[in-house]
C-alpha cells in the first residue's frame, strides 16, 4: 500500500539538482529547531512545575541572552536568503538557443504548439538534455504551469506572454499540473510531460504536424488581410514587418520599445494603443477575432520574416517591378515555402 508513496518528486531537470540541497538544508534547520524547542518546553514543564520548583526565579530578561538569540536567527535567515537568491539568480533568462515551444492555457486544458507544427493537448514532448523554453499565455483566467519533477512552476496570465525554461536531465513521463486555481475543473487540468531521447524526439516530431507554425501564420496573415497593408512595396499602407522582431520601434509620441512577442501581440490586438512613427492609425482592431493560438502563429510568422524577408510576398497579386528594383539582390526563386 505504501510502497509507491511519492515522498519526494523525481529529480528530472537541471533546477532540481540546484534547489534540492537548499531544500534539504532547510528541512534540517526546521527539524533541529522544532525538536530543540519541543524538548525545551517539555524539560521546562517537568523541571519547573509547581510541585518540584516551589520558588520562581526572578529573571526579567538578559541583554546578552536576548542578543544571542536575535543574532543567531538573523545569521541563519540571511544565510538562507543568500543561498536561495544565488540559486534563483543562476536560473536566469531562457538561453538564446533553447528549443522554443508555445502554449495556450484555457479552462481546462493545455495546448502546445511546436515550431515545426506538431500540436498536442495536455501532453508536452521534449528532448532530454536540451534547453527548452515554453512560452505561455492564457485565453481566459490565470492558470499555472507546474511540473514537480522539474521544480518548475509559472503562472500563466491572460494578458501577457511569459516563458518558463528547463533542461530535462532524465527521460520519462512526468506530471503536469495546473497549480493556480482556475474554476470548477481545476483539478482536471492536468497532463504529462514526456522527456524523450533526442532521436526519438525527432521521430516523434516528424510524425505529425500540418506545416510549421510560421507557415500557418503566413496563411492567417493572408486570411485576415494583413498582407493588404503590410507589404514591402511602395503601395504598403502599413510598416514592413521584416526585421521588426527584436528591433527598437519608435512611436509617434516619441517613446520607443523593443519589439518582443508581447509587443507584437499588443500591436495586433489593440493597434491604437501605440502608433508607429510615420504611419496613420488605420490598422483595424483584431481583439476578439484572432484567438491566442492563431496569435502565436502570426507571431511565429512575423518572427520568421527576420530570416526570410521576401516570404511576405510569395503570392502577392502582382509581382512588383518597383520593389525588385529597390531590392535587387533578392530573387523570387529563393523564396522558401
Amino acid at each position: 500500500m505504501w510502497t509507491d508513496f511519492p515522498l519526494f518528486p523525481a529529480r528530472a531537470a537541471n533546477f532540481a539538482d540546484k534547489v534540492d540541497p537548499l531544500y534539504f538544508f532547510l528541512v534540517a534547520v526546521t527539524v533541529f529547531f522544532s525538536v530543540g524547542i519541543f524538548l525545551t518546553i517539555t524539560v521546562f514543564a517537568i523541571k519547573y512545575r509547581r510541585s518540584v520548583h516551589p520558588q520562581a526565579e526572578q529573571i526579567k530578561g538578559s541583554l546578552a541572552v536576548e542578543a544571542t538569540w536575535t543574532i543567531i536567527p538573523l545569521g541563519i535567515a540571511l544565510f538562507i536568503f543568500v543561498w536561495g537568491a544565488a540559486v534563483y539568480y543562476s536560473y536566469g533568462a531562457p538561453p538564446k538557443n533553447a528549443l522554443r515551444v508555445y502554449g495556450t492555457a484555457k479552462q481546462w486544458m493545455w495546448k502546445f504548439q511546436h515550431a515545426d507544427g506538431q500540436r498536442e493537448i495536455n501532453e508536452l514532448h521534449v528532448p532530454v538534455g536540451q534547453d527548452v523554453a515554453v512560452t505561455l499565455i492564457s485565453q481566459d483566467v490565470i492558470h499555472s504551469f507546474f511540473v514537480p519533477a522539474f521544480r518548475a512552476k509559472m503562472d500563466v496570465l491572460p494578458n501577457r506572454y511569459r516563458t518558463v525554461w528547463f533542461r530535462p536531465t532524465r527521460t520519462g513521463t512526468y506530471h503536469l499540473f495546473c497549480a493556480e486555481y482556475c474554476g470548477t475543473a481545476h483539478s482536471g487540468m492536468i497532463g504529462w510531460v514526456v522527456v524523450m531521447e533526442p532521436a526519438d524526439y525527432e521521430v516523434w516530431l516528424a510524425a505529425g504536424g500540418e506545416g510549421s507554425l510560421a507557415s500557418s501564420g503566413e496563411k492567417l496573415f493572408r486570411h485576415f488581410g494583413c498582407i493588404s497593408c503590410h507589404r514591402a512595396d511602395k503601395g504598403a499602407r502599413g510598416p514592413d514587418l521584416a526585421g521588426l522582431y527584436g528591433r527598437e520601434v519608435h512611436f509617434q509620441d516619441g517613446s520607443t520599445r523593443i519589439a518582443d512577442e508581447n509587443y507584437l501581440r499588443e500591436s495586433i490586438l489593440a493597434p491604437k494603443a501605440k502608433i508607429v512613427a510615420g504611419w496613420q492609425p488605420i490598422m483595424p482592431v483584431f481583439q476578439g477575432q484572432v484567438n491566442e493560438e492563431q496569435m502565436l502563429e502570426l507571431i511565429a510568422y512575423i518572427k520568421s520574416l527576420n530570416q526570410n524577408p521576401l516570404n511576405v510576398n510569395p503570392n502577392a497579386p502582382v509581382p512588383d517591378e518597383e520593389q525588385r528594383k529597390r531590392n535587387p539582390q533578392v530573387e523570387p526563386q529563393v523564396i522558401r515555402p
Partner: protein
Amino acid sequence: MSEQAHAVHAHAAPTGFIRKYIFSLDHKMIGLQYYFLALVAVFVGMFLSLLMRIHLVWPEASLPWFGHIKPEQYLTLLTMHGTIMVFFVLTTAPQSGFGNYFLPIQIGAPDMAFPTLNMLSFWTTFVSFMVMLAAFFVEGGAPLSGWTNYAPLSAIPSAGPGQGLGEDLWIISIALFSVASLMGALNFITTTLDLRARGMSLFRMPLTCWAWFVTAMLGLLAFGVLLAGGILLLLDRNLGTSFFVPGGLNINGNLSFPPGGLNPGGHPITHTGGSPLLWQHLFWFFGHPEVYIAILPGMGVASQLLSTFSRKPIFGYKAMVYAILAIGILGFLVWGHHMFMSGMSPYSAFAFSVMTMAIGVPSAIKTFNWLGTIWGGRVRFHTPMLFAIGFVSLFVSGGLSGPFLAQPVLDIPLHDTYFVVGHFHLIMGVAAIFGIFAATYYWFPKMFGRMMNETLGRIHFFVTLLGTYAVFMPMHYLGMAGHPRRYSQLTELNFLQPLMPLQKFMSIAAFITIAVQFVFVINLFWSMKKGKKAEINPWEATTLEWTVPSPPPHDNFGGVTPVVNHGPYEYSVPGAAKDYTMQTDPATVAAH
C-alpha cells in the same frame, strides 16, 4: 471618577433588554456579541470543512440531507470555509471579541472611546456575516473563487455556478466587514492612546494591550485597501469597468461578458486593458497584514498567560514590545511573497524574500522569550496555560515552514500545494484558535463569574493538540510530494492514489478534532450556569481586570478610576508578601 472620564462615558447603565443585550453600548456586551458571533461562525466553518474532508476521500458518499457532494460544491465549500474562518473567526474573536472586552479594563478605562461607533461596528459585522451566509441560498449558490478571489476568475459571472449573485454578495459582505473593521480599529487606537488610567504608561501596558493596539493599526491600513479592491471588483463585474479584466478574454467561447451585458451607456461590455495582477497586489497588501491581525492578539495572550502561570515576569518585556512593532511594520513590506509565481522581476522577488526572512527574527525573539519566561518558573498547568503552551508549539511548527516559502526557488515547487495549506493552517488557523481557547479559559471567570471545568478542559486540549497536528502536519508532506491545492477530485488522479491512505488518516483525525470541540461548547455553556463560583482573582494575576468584580460592573471600576503603580508582570518579586504584585498595589512595595 474624573470629569474627563465622565464626559467620555456619560451614559448610565441601561435597563431594557434591547439596550442591554442587543444594541448595547457597553464594550463588554459588545465584546461578548463578537465572541458569540465568532463561535457560530467557527462551527459553520468547521462544518464546511467536515463536508470537504468527506468529499476528498469518499467522493461517492451520500450524506443525509446534503446528498452527494459535487466537485464544484467542494470548491464552494472551500471558498466559504476559508472566508468564514479568516474573517468571521480569526479577525473577529481575538481582536474585536476579547479586545473589546478587556482592552478598556486592562488600561483602566470605563469604556471604549466611542461606544456608539463600537455598537455600529458590531452590527455592521453582523450584517456582513448575514450577507455572506445569504450567498448559500441565492441562485447558483455561494461563490467558488477561493478566499483570495483572484481576478479575472472572480470578475467573470460565467466562470461557474455561484459566480453570479453569490459572488456579488461575497464582495459586498467583505466590503461591509472592512468598513466595520475600520471603525473598530479607530476605536481601539483612540482608546489606547487617550483613555489610559493614571500611571498606565505605554510601557506599563500588558502585552495583550500592545497586541490589540498594533493589530488595530494594521487593520486601519489594511482594510481600507481591501475595501477599495472590493469596490473596484464590483464595478468590473457589474458596470463594465476594466480594473482587473484584460481585453479579449475568451471564456468558453464567450468573448464579452456578461454575455449580452450592456454598460450604462447602452453599449455592449467589452473589457480592455485591466490588470489581473492589480487584484493580487491589492488583495495581498491586505492579506499579509491580515495574518498578523489574526495572530498578534494570540501572541499577546500567550505572553500574558505564560508569565502569569509561571509566576515570573515576562522575559524581556521591552523586546517583546519592539518585536510586536517590528512584525507590524515588516508585515506591510512582504505581500509580494504570495506572488513569486505571478511574474515579478527577480529583483523584486529578492526584496520581498529578504523582508520575509527578516520577519523571522522578531518571531524568533518572541518564541525564545516565551521559553525564557517558563525557564526557572513555578509553573501551574491549568487549562489556559496548556493552551498558551500549545499556541507556542503551533506557532513554532507553523512558523518554521515560512522560510521555505520565502525563498522564490523553493516557492516554485511549493507554491499552491498542500504545503501552503499545512503552513497557514498551523500558524494562522490553529495557532490563533489556540489563542482564542487560551483566552476563553483564562478570562471566563472574569466574564461569567464562574470557573470552567478543568477535566473537560484538559481533554479538550490534548485531543485538539494531537488532532490538529495529525490533520495538518501530513499536509506538508503532500505538498512536498507535489500535491496541488484546491483540487476537488483526488480519487480520479492516479498520481494521488498512493497518498490516499494518508488523506483518509487526515480526514479521520479531522472528524475526531471536530467532535472534541463539542466538549468545549458543553463546558462553556454548562460552566456559565453551573461552574464553580470564581473569586475576583482566581489566577492570582496582576492586571487591572482582576481588581474588579466578576463580571465587572457597568463602567468597570464602579466610578473609581484606578491608579497604576506597577508594571504588568511583577510576579515573585523578592521580599514581597505574596508572589504577585497587582498593578494597582501601592508603589512602596516595588521599592523593596
